[in-house]
Each structure stands twice: as structure tokens, then as C-alpha cells.
């Protein structure tokens, strides 16, 4: 049993946890922005697939890594625009539209992959982002390497959380986004366009989701596989609820989930096959359901979430 506890004090475990958390942080912040503006975005899973592919493909075709990130974000924003257009001015069901976006984005991505790379048998590789040790900070024992010996995209993820929190609570545009998810008529009455704020929020949120997807092909791995998103988008939706729609709490949720995930892999190794490995695979998900039950029952959700706003209606 000691062995199982010791894992928690090794740097490599925390390095892995933060690496696993990074795409979830992007995706969770993206979903959080959309939902705070009153739009549920179930397109997240598909948008992450599209982001993973478009970013990777840009680099594969000779683009710079950061250009890849930008292309992924742009791809995400375009799917966000589509989702926003269908759900905000047209007021279609956000559930149905979101599932549609997921199916469309992932299928379109696989199709594009096959069209563009018809001959390949094993997935082609790129040169991904490399870890960069932040001087001084990365020398702190255990936590230093975990937090500060990561790839630049992880640092971008940290920055994203801080930026989202800052914008939400300290800037006029953040107040407008939160208000539009609480009571759109409050925003309209103050002379701001509900449609513009909502679509803008969904586009920015979707861009972040796509960067989350791109993290997998450009930072964690170095090639694109089918099914590589593997439910991470759905987990992000749960994490938003777990975090009660607050960036800081959602960040903690993402790291906790990632830590469970990293832990179960190591636990599998030390128990040496006595317990079926599926039990371990299941663990992070079971724990996230338990955490949801405990934490999220009291959460105050954005009041206008999933309610379309039509100007001039009461």
C-alpha cells in the first residue's frame, strides 16, 4: 500500500497529471465561456477532433507550430460561428445542434484526413512542442518540474484560466458575457446586442476547445489518430458543472481528474494484473460522477442557459 501512496510524491506522476490536464483545461474554459453566455456547446467533442487535425496538418504541411495552433483556433471558431448562428439568431435547440456539430466536425475531419492523406498506413509524425523548463521555478522539488517543465501550450493553458477569470470579473466585456447568460434582456436594455455577445462568446469558447484538441497532436503526441479525443470533450462539460461555472474551480477539477487518470495507470502497474485493468480505467470517471453529485448539486447555473433570446419577445 505504501507503494501506492509513494506515487503521489514522485515528480513524474505530477508531470503526467499536468500534461493530461492541459487539453482538458482548454476545453473546459471553452465550454465554460459558452455556457456562461447561455449557450450549451455539445459540439465540443467534434470541435476538438477538428482542432487536433487542423493544427497537426498545418505543421505536417510545413507550417510553424504556432501557426498550427492559430489554424486550430480558427477552425474551432468557424464551427463556433456555425453553432452560434444556429442557436442564437435562429434559436434552434442547443442540444440537437451541438450533437450535430460534433458529428459534422468529427466526420468531416476523418473524411478530410482520408482525402488529403490517402496513401498512409501508419500515422505520419511531426516535430511537436518540446518541454521548456522555466528557470528557477522548475527547480522547486516535485511541483517545480510538474508545473514548470512543460510544453509552451501548457503554459498557455495556465494563462487562459487567468485571462478568463480576469475578463469575466474585471472587464466590461466579461460582465456583458455573464449578464447575457443570466438575463439577456438586461443586456439588451443597456444597449448591447445579445446576438453579438453570445456568438462572440461561442466562437472564442470553440477556439479554445480546438486548441485543447490540438494539444494532443502537437504537444502530447506527434501524430493524428482517429478517436484520439476519446470523450475528453464530454468530460469538459462535466468539469464545467463540477466547477460551478467558475474558472478557478473548473481548473482544480481538471487537474483532479487528470491526476486520477495518471494515478490509475501507475496503480495498474504496481498491482500487477490482480485487478482487471478496466476497473482502473473506470476510476476517474466514477470519481468524477461522485464529485459531481457531491459538489454540483448546490451549484447556481447561469439562469438563461439553453434559453434562446428573441428580441422584442417577453
Amino acid at each position: 500500500m505504501n507503494e501506492a501512496l509513494e506515487i503521489l510524491f514522485t515528480a513524474s506522476f505530477w508531470v503526467a497529471a499536468i500534461r493530461i490536464a492541459s487539453p482538458l483545461i482548454f476545453a473546459t474554459m471553452g465550454e465554460l465561456i459558452c455556457e456562461r453566455a447561455g449557450v450549451l456547446n455539445l459540439g465540443i467533442e467534434g470541435i476538438m477532433v477538428a482542432g487536433a487535425f487542423s493544427g497537426w496538418f498545418t505543421v505536417y504541411m510545413g507550417g510553424d507550430l504556432w501557426t498550427g495552433v492559430f489554424v486550430a483556433a480558427l477552425t474551432g471558431a468557424m464551427f463556433g460561428l456555425l453553432h452560434g448562428f444556429l442557436t442564437v439568431p435562429l434559436g434552434l435547440s442547443q442540444h440537437v445542434t451541438g450533437i450535430g456539430i460534433t458529428l459534422l466536425a468529427s466526420s468531416l475531419t476523418y473524411f478530410t484526413y482520408r482525402i488529403l492523406l490517402p496513401e498512409v498506413s501508419s500515422p505520419p509524425k511531426i516535430e511537436p512542442f518540446q518541454p521548456f523548463a522555466v528557470p528557477v521555478l522548475s527547480d522547486i522539488p516535485v511541483l517545480g518540474p510538474a508545473l514548470f517543465n512543460q510544453t509552451p501550450l501548457t503554459y498557455l493553458a495556465y494563462f487562459t484560466v487567468a485571462a478568463v477569470a480576469f475578463v469575466f470579473y474585471r472587464t466590461p466585456v466579461g460582465v456583458a458575457v455573464r449578464a447575457v447568460g443570466e438575463n439577456p434582456s438586461a443586456v439588451e436594455a443597456q444597449g448591447i446586442s445579445v446576438t453579438a455577445v453570445r456568438i462572440g462568446a461561442v466562437m472564442v469558447g470553440s477556439a479554445l476547445m480546438a486548441i485543447g484538441g490540438a494539444f494532443l497532436t502537437m504537444s502530447a503526441f506527434n501524430s493524428f489518430f482517429f478517436e484520439m479525443i476519446n470523450g475528453r470533450g464530454w468530460i469538459a462539460i462535466a468539469l464545467v458543472v463540477f466547477g460551478s461555472w467558475r474558472p478557478g474551480k473548473a481548473l482544480i477539477g481538471a487537474i483532479l481528474f487528470a491526476a486520477f487518470d495518471a494515478y490509475q495507470v501507475r496503480l495498474q502497474q504496481i498491482t500487477g494484473g490482480v485487478i482487471p485493468y478496466q476497473i482502473f480505467l473506470m476510476m476517474p470517471f466514477v470519481l468524477s460522477i461522485v464529485a459531481l453529485v457531491v459538489v454540483a448539486r448546490r451549484a447556481t447555473y447561469p439562469k438563461a442557459l439553453m434559453i434562446p433570446y428573441q428580441k422584442g419577445e417577453r
Binding site: A176, E182, V187, G191, G312
Partner: protein, 516 residues
């Protein structure tokens, strides 16, 4: 408020020939009006007269089909709320436009700074809000969440929103509908201060008393047209009422009551809370041939009492007696069986099912009775016949029994509920807010039916937040405060202010609740 609005005062707002059509309906028909600096005008009219439409055009929510708006001598671009705000028009909507999970301050500064700046300017804003609040009697803590505020405080936030943007023209849409008499007084005091500071106010209302006490000039709308315009000091109440309804105001004669036996009694009943105060050991008697009025500020236990009598809320102690007999199990079914006619408070939420037809709705309390079902199958012919009877007897404007209830106006929906509740001459009638949101004609109609029921010997409990209504109809008045009842008073025994005091909890000594 007559200080600075003589003929020489500057005209701040001029509407010329405003026309707005919604399909075949002409909501506003060539309406013109002017507003001067430091003036309060009341826009008087029934529901559907076009008041709110006109103000929504002024504020840019709708675009007028014809006509011009001039603010401080400049033409306002149509359909642009931002331009209206910038021109100095502030609107306090009837349904508040506040984001509940945000602070007062955040709600007020929303949209007042360029969206892409990096600073909310909180401390300067807080200072300005404090100053405005102190100047105009609008005390509210800028850092509290909207959810924590009372209705009166939320309205203050709405007014502060407008003042914060330097509004010079303030539009208030039915501002007193949600306020207690005391809060209304405070609002009027605030308006007086605003006018003294040179603002102009448009006060939308259908309550004549208020219009007379607050305005300098009254503009009356009827059926989308300008029905008339009077200086308040020169107009009588009757004249204004007739302009508003376009003819004689229906007046109900109510004779003296001849109370009979006690038909329904509560003895020391307590309940759990129902989104308001819980009932604490209340006792009351409803006698046949009498209307008992229950006055009180919303949230003091009216909801619990109505639910208790309807059978949807259980008593945790005390007894319920019907016709002098103790009832063992009181449930909605038992209540209907014992002859309770129920007019629920919220006709949309618990009164009718909007997406079902008129016929389906009118049999919804009695569909299991042999009258409407045989061997478990519904008899649609009987249902349609019943619906037609109500439509005819209660003068419901509705195309057919198959029409969906959602399409009916509030007044017609209420008539339908009335028809359903009064069918079979129930001897106990629970009427919760039976006239809320209805126009004068419909109000008079509902009142007439309740008086009729009383005169044939039914016991009527009228729960209302409208003191005028309570005083007009009730033979006996009870006041509820924090789940306890006052001593009953007879018709005319107490003045409005005395009732207001009871509503605010003065004179509710412990134990008074046993008196009824």
C-alpha cells in the same frame, strides 16, 4: 410637482404620428405627444391599449411603421436602444431587466463603458451610485447580489441604472404593480426629487388613484389611439376612467351581507413554507353568504394558505373543518369533492395548461366524473358542450372549444377559469389574485361573479394584494403578516393606512391569530 413646467418650459420629447402595426392589429395609431422639462405625464390605458408598445418604440425595442421621435430637438434613429440611451432616455421595465447572480454594481455599469477596455472602474462607479442613491432616496448596497434584494430594492436598482447613465427622461412601466403601499410612497418621493432636479417622467399605469397623485398631465390611450389628454388638476377620476374604457365604467353594486353558517374552518393550523412565510397556528372561519378578504404583502403566507385550502399543502398541526365536520385527509381531490371552487393565483402556471385545448382545460378538474367519461373513455361531446356553455355564459372570446388556451387573452383565460370553478355552484370559493393583470372591464366582470356567488350563499375567500379590491369586495377583512392573521375587521372599519400598518406587521400581537 407643478414648479417648473409652465408653458415656457423646454420641450424635451416630442412624438409625432407614431403608428405601429403587428399584422392586422394596429397597436399604435398616429399617436402624438410632448413632454416638457420637469414634468410628469401619466400614460393611462387598459391592457392592450398600446402603452407598452409606444414606450418600446421610444426606447428602440420596436421600430415604428410611421412617425418621428424627437429628443431634445434631435430626431432619434428608430429601432436603436443604444441611441435612445445615449439621448438620455431611461426605461424601468415592468419585468425587471436585471441579471440575478451579479452584483448591483455590475448590473449598473453593464454597457456604460467601452466593451474592450481593461477596467470596470468599480471604485468610481461605486462612488457615483452612492451619491445618486443618497440624492434621490434610492438606498441600496452596490456590492450586494440582485438575488438578495427585495422587489422594491430591485426597482431602485433599475432607476439607478437609468440615472447612472445621466438619463433626463425616465419611463416607468407599471412601476407600482409589485410594490407595497409604503414602497409606493417612497417611489413617489423619489420621483418628486427627480422632477425637482429637472428630469421628466413618463409614468405608465392603469390605476387612476396613482395617476392622480403623481402626474401633472394625463395622456389616455384606448385601442391604440389617443383617447384624450387632460391636466391632472382639471380632470375628475370619473372622466379619466371613462376616457380609458370608452364609455360608462361598469360599477358593481354590493349589498349588505347576510352571513350564514360557517362552511369552512381552520383551527390552529400550521404548515411548512411555500416560497414565503409558513402558516403559524392560524384559525379562520369562512361563512356562507360572505366574502372574506385576505390582505397582505406578497410572501407573507398567502401562497401557503391557498395551497392548504386547495389541498396541495399539508397541515402539520391543527384541524380543517368543512360544514362543521372535521376532515381527516384533505387533498386536492377531497377539496373538489367537498365543493371547493378554486381560482388559482397564477393562471398560466397552475390554472390552465396553455398548450391544451379549451375543452381539455375545462374538464381537467372533473374528467373522471361520469359526466365526462364512460368506462374510462372520455366523452368529448360532453366536454365540448360544457366548454361551449362556459364560453357562452361567461362571454369568453375564443374561436372554438378546440382552440389552444395559450391563444386567449388574460381576461378570457380568467373567465374560463371562473366558469370552471363556479360550475355546479360550489359553496366554498377560493379566489387567489383573481383580477391580477386584467383590464377594468374584466375586473368588474370577475367581481360581479364573486358577488353573485356570495349572494347565493357561498363562502368566498378573496386573497389579493390589491387593497382597493379587498376594500371594495370584502364583508370582512383579515390581514396576513409572517404567516399570522390579524383580528378581522368589518367593511369600512379600517382606513387604507390602518390596513397598511397591519400589513407591515404593526398591531399583530402574539395570539391575535386566534381571533378570527
Amino acid at each position: 410637482m407643478d414648479a417648473n413646467n409652465g408653458p415656457e418650459a423646454e420641450t424635451v420629447l416630442r412624438l409625432t404620428g407614431i403608428t405601429k402595426r403587428f399584422g392586422p392589429l394596429v397597436a399604435n395609431d398616429a399617436i402624438s405627444l410632448t413632454l416638457k422639462r420637469g414634468e410628469v405625464i401619466a400614460l393611462l390605458g387598459e391592457n392592450g391599449a398600446g402603452k407598452t408598445t409606444l414606450m418600446n418604440i421610444l426606447f428602440g425595442h420596436y421600430t415604428a411603421d410611421e412617425g418621428d421621435i424627437e429628443v431634445f430637438g434631435r430626431t432619434l434613429p428608430p429601432g436603436d436602444p443604444h441611441a435612445a440611451l445615449a439621448a438620455g432616455i431611461g426605461m424601468v421595465h415592468q419585468h425587471f431587466t436585471l441579471a440575478d447572480q451579479m452584483t448591483v454594481l455590475e448590473n449598473i455599469v453593464l454597457g456604460t463603458r467601452p466593451l474592450w477596455s481593461f477596467n470596470l472602474g468599480k471604485s468610481a462607479a461605486r462612488e457615483k451610485i452612492r451619491r445618486l442613491a443618497a440624492d434621490y432616496g434610492l438606498e441600496v448596497d452596490p456590492d450586494r447580489m440582485i438575488t438578495e434584494l427585495s422587489v422594491g430594492e430591485r426597482q431602485r436598482v433599475e432607476i439607478l441604472k437609468a440615472l447612472y447613465r445621466e438619463a433626463r427622461i425616465l419611463i416607468l412601466d407599471e412601476p407600482t404593480a409589485v410594490l407595497t403601499p409604503m414602497e409606493t410612497e417612497a417611489l413617489f418621493a423619489t420621483l418628486a426629487k427627480l422632477v425637482a432636479a429637472g428630469l421628466s417622467v413618463i409614468f405608465i399605469s392603469h390605476k387612476l388613484g396613482e395617476v392622480q397623485s403623481v402626474s401633472d398631465r394625463v395622456v389616455v390611450l384606448r385601442g391604440g389611439k389617443l383617447a384624450g389628454e387632460r391636466r391632472t388638476s382639471e380632470a375628475t377620476r370619473r372622466e379619466l376612467a371613462e376616457l380609458m374604457v370608452g364609455g360608462q365604467l361598469p360599477v358593481n353594486e354590493i349589498g349588505p351581507a347576510s352571513p350564514g353558517d360557517c362552511l369552512f374552518e381552520l383551527k390552529g393550523v400550521s404548515t411548512r413554507s411555500m416560497g414565503g412565510a409558513a402558516l403559524k397556528q392560524i384559525s379562520m372561519q369562512l361563512r356562507g353568504g360572505e366574502i372574506t378578504g385576505l390582505a397582505g404583502i406578497s410572501g407573507n403566507g398567502q401562497a401557503a394558505l391557498a395551497a392548504l385550502i386547495s389541498g396541495t399543502l399539508e397541515a402539520i398541526e391543527g384541524d380543517i373543518l368543512v360544514h362543521g365536520e372535521k376532515v381527516e385527509r384533505w387533498s386536492p381531490g377531497a377539496a373538489l369533492e367537498r365543493g371547493l371552487g378554486r381560482i388559482p393565483e397564477d393562471r398560466h402556471a397552475t390554472g390552465m395548461i396553455g398548450d391544451m385545448s379549451v375543452a381539455e382545460n375545462v374538464i381537467s378538474e372533473a374528467y373522471r366524473s361520469p359526466r365526462f367519461s364512460r368506462f374510462g373513455f372520455l366523452d368529448w361531446k360532453a366536454a365540448a358542450a360544457f366548454a361551449n356553455d362556459i364560453i357562452k355564459a361567461y362571454d369568453v372570446k375564443c374561436p372554438s372549444p378546440e382552440a389552444r388556451v395559450r391563444l386567449l387573452s388574460g381576461g378570457n383565460m380568467q373567465k374560463l377559469i371562473l366558469g370552471r370553478a363556479l360550475d355546479g355552484d360550489p359553496d366554498i370559493i377560493l379566489a387567489s389574485q383573481p383580477t391580477r393583470g386584467l383590464d377594468v372591464g374584466a375586473v368588474a366582470y370577475v367581481h360581479a361573479r364573486l358577488i353573485e356567488a356570495r349572494d347565493r350563499g357561498a363562502a368566498v375567500l378573496l386573497i389579493s394584494e390589491d387593497l382597493d379590491e379587498i376594500q371594495t369586495l370584502s364583508d370582512r377583512i383579515l390581514v396576513i403578516h409572517r404567516g399570522q392573521l390579524s383580528k378581522p375587521s368589518l367593511r369600512g372599519e379600517l382606513s387604507v393606512m390602518e390596513l397598511g400598518e397591519l400589513m407591515a406587521g404593526h398591531g399583530h400581537d402574539e395570539g391575535a391569530s386566534h381571533a378570527a
